[in-house]
Amino acid sequence: MIQEKAEILLNQNIALDHYKLVVKVDGLKDAIKPGQFFHIKAGTEYDPLLRRPLSVHRIGSKPNIIEFLYKVVGKGTHLISRRSKGTYLDVIGPIGNGFKVPKSQSNFVLIAGGMGVAPLVALAETLAGFRKRSITAIVGAKTKSCLTCNKELKELGAKLIVVTEDGSAGEKGFATSALTDIIEQFDLRKTDSPHVKKDAGHLTIGDYRPEVGLYACGPIPMLKAVSKIARKYRIQVQASMEERMGCGVGACLGCAVKTKRGYEMVCKDGPVFDLEDIVWE
């Protein structure tokens, strides 16, 4: 993790309120993992005061060039959107654990709601480097204009399923409505492992099916629904979670999520959690 003034190479409006931000972070020592984020100082004054966490959207081929995808939702992101090419942004990162990608796995299902698609494209980028694998990306958005990553996901070799709340693109509904159909395609019922107890209270790593890995990022109601479906099929879900953040380094204990081990921090213990460990409040 480093703090640096990163040069803005691009900060472009790509759809209504959606921006692509590319920065050059010279001092990076370690490779960035998909799911990690940077904590960015939006302005130079005291309002907004706190940094804004933005997850890495594209890691790219050059190790010090990082791409973010963000939506302007408040003062912080508005200020970031006004910063121009050639100026510098104060960034801290990379932060967090990132998605774990088991080399043995070959079927990957990515499910995104809204801006949750941003880190999942970075994951697809990593997965695209694997030799034998299938990637299915279910992308849910409010409306057609919010779908900003379709082309990228296709280029990375993902089978793309689009769902919009208003039906302006793809199926009408939520991303989760397409999830059951996709999972059914893997024919998991036929290969039901005998050692798995039907009424297992808490699934642990040994209980999960090895065939499919599910990766999610989106609003809490979506994650809850994904968790319920995945549980039925005993599929592990790695989900990138969000919470209001203070320090970003695990010092302030602000960005707490309740897990079966107690409150854990999105910035230090996450942002990627095994959904089975989350206690929904």
């Binding site: 480093i2 005291y46 706190l50 940094r51 203070g246 302030c252 960005c255 409150y263």
Partner: protein
């Protein structure tokens, strides 16, 4: 050169600090969290996240809400308890190149007494008594111990009797007369007073009609509380003889100097660490420059030099 280096050193009772800049409790974890981002060799000390006798789970999220030039928090003193702290955190802390001040909190007097006993046997440099956290409920007639001069004195006395470590008592701004509480702490034997803790506040989501914080109310910190903090440091400086450690919204050197002029012998940097992890060390460097520019031999020449 030796003289130049010594210009920032201050004494808080028996506690000698190489510079008067301390990282505030709850904003700097246990030091290790910021290890990759800042070198602590120039700062005077760090105050740990408050430690209680038994582990505290912390409050229901959301725990943070940003406000105009500030932030509300309702963390709820989440910590693993003093036993786990001594066992797993202390040795790493002691390796930091700065003084280690351990903040203690509890919901009754006996807990503070026990915490003092346990910590007295360790190699920590000082104890800060947190009787002013707005986010925990405890057994006292007032909402916070530090809203009641008798409760304040009782706790300070209980800690004093059980440790020889330098004691700093941290006060809340949520009172009618801060000097009354400061004097009670002084009479009970504290070596220094630190202030201010956060200002109790609220924020509301008008769409859901719910409070923004899971705990309904929280503590306001950041630049927006600095004027309140300065006023209270000035009042307490004029009311007690023990040194005052000032804090509340310090973001940079200029802010810190205001606190010294109002009577602070040392200052703590809190919320600023979240925005700029190097805030403490930048203030140390800034103070050094200010002294040089103004041809002052010691930071002590600034303390309480407000011209009325």
């Amino acid at each position: 050169m030796g003289v130049k280096e010594s210009t920032l050193s201050v004494g808080i009772g028996k506690l000698k600090l190489k510079s008067p800049v301390i990282a505030a409790s709850g904003t700097f974890g246990y030091g290790e969290e910021y290890r990759e981002l800042v070198s602590l060799s120039s700062i005077g000390g760090i105050v740990t996240k408050s430690i209680s006798l038994k582990a505290y789970e912390g409050n229901k999220p959301p725990r943070i809400w940003e406000t105009t030039a500030g932030m509300l928090n309702s963390i709820g003193l989440q910590n693993e308890g003093v036993g786990a702290f001594i066992e797993s955190k202390l040795s790493d802390l002691k390796r930091l190149p700065t003084a280690v001040i351990v903040s203690i909190a509890g919901d009754q007097k006996d807990e503070f007494r026990e915490l003092a006993k346990r910590l007295d046997k360790t190699s920590i440099d000082a104890i800060e008594i947190n009787i002013s956290c707005p986010n925990i409920k405890h057994k006292s007639k007032s909402r916070l111990f530090s809203q009641d001069p008798d409760a304040t004195a009782e706790i300070v006395r209980a800690v004093r009797r059980n440790t020889k470590k330098p004691l700093i008592t941290k006060l809340s701004p949520n009172v009618t007369d801060i000097t009354e509480i400061a004097k009670a702490a002084e009479r009970a034997g504290t070596d220094a007073i630190s202030l201010i803790n956060t200002v109790i506040g609220m924020a509301v989501d008008i769409d859901t009609k719910r409070p923004r914080l899971g705990n309904v109310t929280g503590g306001l910190s950041g630049p927006c509380i600095k004027p309140i903090a300065l006023r209270m440091v000035w009042e307490v400086y004029n009311a007690v003889k023990v040194p005052v450690i000032g804090m509340g919204g310090i973001m940079n050197t200029e802010d810190a100097i205001e606190f010294f002029l109002c009577g602070a012998s040392a200052i703590q940097v809190g919320t600023a660490n979240f925005i700029n992890p190097r805030a403490t060390t930048e203030v140390v460097a800034g103070l050094r420059e200010y002294l040089k520019k103004n041809k002052l031999t010691s930071i002590k020449d600034l303390i309480g030099k407000l011209k009325i």
